[in-house]
Structures are given as C-alpha cells and as structure tokens.
Symmetry: C2
Subunit: 335 residues, 2 copies
C-alpha cells in the first residue's frame, strides 16, 4: 500500500485535523470532536439548518461543503463507514438555529438507520427534522426501483440549492422541497479504472483489470453493470449521456448543469476531454450547458475514473445554483 499517511488508524483524525489547521477561520469542530465539523462563521438565528454525514475517503464530500450558503454541519465516519448515530444527533442539535434541520445525505443503509435514530432523538427534544436522500446513481438500480439507488456526486447540487434556499430565508418545508427537487433532477453515471485501498485494510477489496473499465461501479467499489475493455472518452460520454437521458429525458431548449467528477486519481486533462464530449452530445440535441462543475467533488481516495452528472435546471434551481457560496472546497461568488 503506497499512501502518504501515518498510522492507518489515524487517517480520518489527521485528515480532519489538517483541514481544521488549514481552514480554521471557516470550519470548526464541535467540542473538539473531530467527527463533527461546523461552519465557524456566525449563522443567523432563524435560518433552517442543513446537515449531512457519511463515510470518510470521499473528499471534498462530505465535510467540504460545510460553509456559508451550503451546509451548517457534517459528521464523518471511518473510511467508507457510516458515522455513529450519536454524532448525527450532536450535529443536528448544533445546527438547529430555531427553524428546524434538514438532513440531506446519500441513500445508504447504515446512514439511513443512524440518521433515523438521531432524528427520532432530536424530535424528542423538540427539533423538527426533515430528510432528503441523494440517490442519483442511475447504474445502481433500474428506474422502477429507484428508491434503491445510491447517492453519489449529484448530491452536491442539492447541497448548493438547498443551502441557498436556507440562506435566502426559506422555511424548513420550502428548503426541503428544494432539496427534493434538486435530487429528483440529477442523474449520475460512474466509471472506474482502478480500485482504491481502505487504509486500515491495506489492500484493495475489489479489482478492475489492467485493460478494463467498470461501468457503473459505486464510490465504495460496489459492483457496476458492465465490465468492458477500455473505451475512449467519446464512448464513455455517449454511454453516460444515453443512460442518463433514458432515465431523465431532455429535449431541445432544456438547460442543465454538467458535473464531471474525478474519483481521485484521474487527471484534470481527462476530465476536460470528457466534458468536451458530453457538451457536444448535449449541444447536438439542443440542450444548453450552464455552469459546468469539473474537478473532484466526490472521490474514492486514489481511485481512477470519473462520474458524469446531469442536473436539469428550471429558473428556481438555476437561481439558487448561482447564489453565493463559500466553503473551503466550493466557492461561488456570483452576485
């Protein structure tokens, strides 16, 4: 295992300590607990709180989106493992500013179980909570079973739009509805070229052959839908766009944002070449691409590969996407 780390057991703690050392003017820990990260800036009383949580190993997901105009707090688990429910409860309590809390996270069994328990406890304390699940990975289940779909990089659009809605002063029901609409309007297809190694395990727990690509592999190495001999960027873009459009039809005049998300080991050049191909396919059918997101948004440590997300915009979502946001990993300064 060749990773630039110290003891595998301290991977998560030292990652978070590094982040706080770097961005302590913007992020803070809750009571020195490195599992719970909060916005260090004062938050307006009466603003709806938005929290998330999930396993480590996906930076900037999840804690990287805590900050002005996005999330109020985040709890992180071990690598690829759900945070404890008690940490979720702590996060919810810390992020209630008197108007309730939206729990916005990915559709994974452990996270759901723990968040539901935490919400029950918070509710007992009089904190009203709602839940919206990111479930954008079209490869993870057919459309008839879309409640089984995993959440991947597309959730970043929901963080952005819901965060903007809360910053504008919308109430909990309105913010929840925006988050749900954002999640309903985004689809993602992932492509893996290599596995990644959980530090405490020390070796890959799944493989991708030297000359192959796995289509639809999840960000924890969940099995995809097809293994192919390596394909070109244009072929990859076609598979992604076809599959997404079969699930969420687009027609001439529609406007979308496109996210090309590097999984951790994929050069920016390859992401740009892929964006070029996706952009061309969408332009060819009269779909306009607005505010592309190209880079690393939801990774699997050193995994090579990328995911393509398409986020269908309407005027409301577009406006919210344009609102200012400022986190150490996501900034938007449109006025």
């Amino acid at each position: 295992m060749k990773k630039i780390i110290n003891e595998p057991e301290s991977f998560v703690k030292e990652t978070v300590e590094g982040i706080i050392a770097a961005y302590g003017d913007r992020l803070k820990l809750l009571n020195d607990d490195f599992r719970v990260v909060l916005n260090a800036h004062p938050v307006r009383e009466g603003k709806v709180g938005i929290v998330t949580g999930g396993g480590s190993g996906h930076l900037p997901l999840f804690l990287g989106y805590v900050g002005d105009g996005m999330l109020d707090g985040c709890t992180v688990g071990n690598v690829f493992a759900s945070p404890a429910y008690s940490k979720m409860y702590d996060t919810i309590c810390a992020c209630d500013h008197g108007a309730g809390v939206l729990c916005l996270y990915g559709n994974y069994g452990g996270d759901k179980l723990n968040f539901n328990q935490a919400i029950e406890d918070a509710d007992f304390d009089g904190i009203r909570c709602t839940t919206v699940l990111g479930a954008d990975d079209v490869a993870s289940a057919p459309i008839e079973e879309k409640e089984k779909r995993r959440g991947v990089s597309g959730i970043v659009y929901a963080y952005k739009c819901a965060g903007a809605a809360a910053a504008r002063g919308m109430d909990l029901d309105e913010v929840t509805a925006i988050a749900q609409k954002a999640c309903d309007n985004v689809r993602t297809m992932g492509f893996a070229l290599t596995p990644c190694i959980v530090p405490e395990v020390g070796k890959a727990t799944f493989t991708v052959a030297e000359d192959e690509i796995e289509i639809g592999m999840g960000i924890h190495g969940e099995k995809g839908i097809e293994v192919k001999k390596m394909i070109t960027a244009d072929e990859l873009a076609k598979i992604a766009v076809d599959r997404i459009l079969a699930d969420m039809p687009l027609t001439a005049g529609d406007e979308v944002s496109v996210m090309i998300n590097g999984l951790g080991g994929t050069p920016l050049e390859e992401q740009m070449i892929t964006f070029r191909a996706v952009h061309k396919l969408l332009s060819d059918i009269g779909v306009t691409v607005f505010m592309p997101h190209i880079g690393e948004y939801a990774t699997s440590m050193e995994m090579a590969g990328l995911s393509v997300s398409i986020f269908k915009l309407d005027e409301e979502l577009k406006g919210l996407l344009c609102d200012p946001a400022d986190t150490p990993f996501y900034t938007n300064h449109n006025k």
Copy 2:
C-alpha cells in the same frame, strides 16, 4: 495505458477545447488557435501584460491561471514539451496593452530558448518585455547552482502576486520586481510515488518501484535526489521542511504560505494529512502559516505524489496574495 482520452494525438487539442467549452465566458482562444489561451474579459488599456507558457499535462498549470488578477495569456505545447516560439510571440503581442509584457515561466531549456527568441521579435516590434523564471525546486540543484533549478508549483505564487501588482496599476519594472521577489521567496520539494504516461508514448518512460518513493523527482519524471522505501506523511513533511529551511532559513515570527500540491493521482486526504504535519513543524518553530494552498496546482497527469512549497511573506507579498483573482482554476475573493 488506461486513460480516458480519444486519439493520443488529440490529447492537447481536446483538453483545451473542453476548457473553452466549459469556461468560454472567461477564457478565449487567440484566432481559434488552441495553443494560445487569453483572458476573455476586457483588460484595461495601460495594464502591464503577464504571459506564461509551457508543456501540457500539468493542469491547472499553465493556462489555468489566465484570468482576472493573474495572467493575461498562455501558450501551451505538447505534453511535457515547450510551445513553439511563434506561439509565444503571438501571445506576447496579444497581451500587450501598451505597458509592456512580463514573461513569467519555468526554468526549462526549451522554454527559455523559445521565449528569448519571441521576446527578441516582440522587442523589434516595439513591445518592451521582461523575463522572470520560476526556479523553486530545491532538489533540482544545490544552492550554489540555483540558476539551474527547475520551476515547479511555486510559480503559482508568482503568478498571483505579479498579477495583483499589474491589476493595481504598477508599471512593468515594478511588476517584474514583484514577480522576482515572489520567485526568490518560494522553495519546493517534490515526492513521486508513481510514474505517469505521456499519451503519445503510451508507456511510462521512468519508474518508481511498488514500495518506494522518489524524493525530489521533477514533474516530468526528472531524476530526484534519493529513492527510499515508502515513508510516512510525517517523515515526508520533515524531509521537505528541513530541506527547504536549509535553503531559505525561517525564524520565529516569520509568516509563510504553504502549498501542498497533489501531482494528479494523490487523494485530498493525503494532502490534508501532509499539511497537518508541515503546519505542526512550522508552528513548532514559531512560523505562522497564512492562506494555505492545498489541492492540485501543478500536476503530472496521473502521477501519484505531491510537492510541498513554502512561500515566505512580507507585508507587500501578503497584500498582493490577498488581492482578488478569478480564473476557472484559482479564485480569491477577499475584498
């Protein structure tokens, strides 16, 4: 070779086309020439122009720093190869706003040869040009031969400070002096874990063994100063800081910016763990870290590894570092 590309011969062209498709509101090509990228925003007449150039395969370096508050233009060559002198000449001419042009680029033989020729031609046309070379890689030559040192990620600080100086309205001599001071105040140490593959070659032209790290390897795979069995993040940080401080002493009360630059295949988590260690070593000797830069600034495509840069600040450089900048790959919105 497992890369998400189309024909290897179209790697550079399609990368730049992807960038323009994504950020065409901020970047434009000079006369549809994908080798020359300019700021698409109007530039104030009388502003000093700043241009750079270098091989492709290092995104966001070089063209990613073209934009408001940084560079006016950039020409790119093939992967790891100098741009043609005629393109440098075109770039200089396009970026002269009547106050002369600073050519700020890395200390590599081909780039120097070609830029010198281009400057000679531009001078003949009445465009006054100056040159500052990035040469921050302390591992590439001893201090007595520092004119032989290669330029790596540290040049980004020079782009930022010189760009801010030009935006403030300083004249060519002043902007040149700032760029030179920034280059004089930055030192970098690189660490490579894996090689990378030039698309047109199709296989790695150098190797790093499975359990080893090469200390001081350059961003084109230039030989480093030592090959070791894999080390920890804390050990790596110590080697980097010791070596840099032997070259550029720091004492209690000094203020620096630290850049942890992922080389392309290194997860953000490892960069954060390394930052934590560097930050601790500097804090221990009373040196303050201001505005850290952690992420990918100068890559070698899919190479795993990172570089550590330390940029010694004074009041002038600190102020310039804080000035606003807005490029697709580097934004700073301090007011």
